[in-house]
């Protein structure tokens, strides 16, 4: 991969208005943005709606294609596309998770998953799209299996976190689930054997020089042997596992702390995302977007492994809740903010 240096610019491409309350998160449709399919992403908000945005190929600008409302009765906290891009899962404070299917352009709610006692805060599809994970304030993580006919069956309820669970994320290649929580820890879950027997196989807590406050999000590199987590303790942490042992699959490869990016942020970091080319974006409550890249010099002298590529001051007028790199060729980054807007950025190297 090419070597990023200073002389990059994060150019605002478009500002999307429409949500009447803070935008909590957004998700690019993985099946778009290449081979002439226009870019599509979904955003969800405190206004209880989900909006689908589609790029107009002629103007290159995004427009709101659909508003998914009157299903969730409270804030929609997060959304996730199935790998195929056919299904959209949305998690809401109303304790339900909704599954939407794109039928000829318009979306209909094909199923609602009930089980959490209260707010559902995050939802994630596994690589194959056969499993769905949700988590919430009830401290539990639920794993659902997709059945024929949009049926979803609860495979297992994972209890281990001592506080509400902020985010769940499947490993990009394997059926290992990661969850991070208000209890400052990250937990790794896997199915021991094949009898729906999901167990916590590792906890990355303060003892493993983990985070000292709420862990808000995590993101993997493409190969899946590295993971960044971001936290209320104002740090980003990089974790690593032995990829070969992991691929072999017959035994679990534990994760270990690699490095901590500290001193860059001065308010809570809500979101971190790792681009295909290895650029890590972070969005925080200080209204700034920051980009980090691997620091090649450091390999020789034991300097920091990662360095700040650029910092976008006042990227939004208020907190930034989510930053997501687009799929496809372009280096597009989308950010969602408390100011009710979504911005699409393009990373240009000068």
């Amino acid at each position: 991969m090419e070597n990023f240096n200073e002389g990059c610019e994060l150019k605002e491409f478009q500002t999307l208005e429409g949500h009447s309350d803070r935008v909590w998160s957004l998700a690019w449709n993985p099946a778009t943005g290449h081979s002439g399919i226009p870019y599509v992403f979904a955003s969800c908000s405190g206004d209880k709606t989900v909006r689908i945005w589609e790029q107009n190929l002629s103007t290159g600008l995004w427009g709101c294609k659909a508003v998914l409302d009157e299903t969730h009765t409270r804030t929609v906290r997060s959304c996730a596309w199935s790998p195929s891009g056919k299904l959209l899962a949305t998690a809401s404070f109303d304790a339900t998770t909704a599954i939407w299917e794109n039928v000829g352009g318009d979306f209909e709610c094909v199923s609602t998953l009930e089980g959490h006692e209260n707010e559902v805060k995050s939802v994630s599809w596994n690589a194959s799209g056969s499993l769905l994970a949700t988590c919430g304030r009830d401290k539990s993580v639920w794993i659902w299996e997709v059945q024929p006919g949009n049926e979803f069956e609860c495979v297992s309820v994972l209890q281990g976190h001592t506080q509400d669970v902020k985010m769940v994320q499947w490993h990009p290649t394997m059926d290992i689930l990661f969850s991070c929580s208000y209890d400052n820890s990250i937990k790794v879950w896997a199915d021991e054997g094949d009898s729906d027997d999901w167990q916590c196989i590792q906890t990355l807590g303060e003892s493993n020089n983990g985070h000292t406050s709420t862990v808000w999000a995590l993101s993997f590199n493409t190969s899946g042997d590295k993971m960044f987590t971001c936290s209320d303790d104002l740090t980003l942490k990089l974790w690593e596992t032995d990829s070969r042992r992991m691929q072999s699959g017959n035994e679990f490869a534990p994760w270990r702390h690699l490095c901590t990016l500290t001193g860059y942020h001065d308010r809570t970091i809500f979101s971190v995302h790792w681009s295909r080319e290895g650029i890590i974006a972070s969005g925080a409550a200080d209204d700034c977007i920051r980009l980090f890249v691997e620091n090649n010099e450091s390999l020789v002298d034991g300097g920091p492994l990662y360095k700040l590529l650029l910092k976008k001051e006042k990227a939004h007028n208020m907190d930034i809740n989510s930053v997501q790199w687009s799929p496809g060729e372009k280096r597009l980054l989308a950010s969602a903010s408390d100011d009710g807007t979504i911005k699409v950025w393009e990373l240009l190297s000068l």
């Binding site: 405190g46 804030t75 707010e119 409550a285 200080d286 408390d338």
Partner: protein, 158 residues
């Protein structure tokens, strides 16, 4: 939940006289008046305590000096002191403070609400919760809580 009041008979303190500001002379209509301690205090002084008919000021839960404001960097920190060490109402009070400021301050502002050090048994926990915006957001969608908060924020008759 403990039935009955957490702190049945709190101490009531004098209300501080509202400091009259020098009436701005309209000759310098252009001059800006940055948001300051007193202005913030005036926003929150009349918030009612969830379980008493008194204002937070009267209960000395807040006072002007415990407010830190930096208009240039759009930052406010309010430190409040629950009436009793184990006051389970601390979170609700904090919530009221946050909501009131959310409604009164420009959106550019970053607000931190914290319990005065050593004034509460589960200080850290309370602070963490009050400054987790996700949980605050969830709280404000809970009708019971919202009613309670609005009740406290209702403009005081006195």
């Amino acid at each position: 939940m403990v039935s009955g009041l957490i702190n049945a008979n709190p101490i009531i303190y004098e209300k501080k006289e509202r400091r009259a500001r020098p009436t701005p002379t309209f000759t310098d209509d252009g001059a800006a008046e940055p948001i300051d301690q007193q202005e913030i205090f005036d926003h929150i002084r009349d918030i009612k305590d969830p379980e008493h008919p008194y204002s937070l000021e009267e209960l000395k839960v807040i006072n002007e000096d415990a407010i830190e404001v930096d208009d240039q960097h759009s930052y406010v920190r309010v430190t409040f002191t629950p009436t009793v060490e184990h006051c389970s109402m601390a979170t609700v009070i904090g919530l009221c403070l946050r909501v009131k400021l959310m409604r009164s301050l420009p959106s550019r502002y970053k607000v931190d609400i914290i319990v005065a050090p050593g004034s509460h048994s589960t200080e850290a926990a309370v602070n963490k919760q009050l400054n987790d915006k996700e949980r605050v957001a969830a709280a404000l969608e809970n009708p019971n809580l919202l009613d309670m908060v609005d009740e406290c924020l209702a403009p005081s008759f006195g």
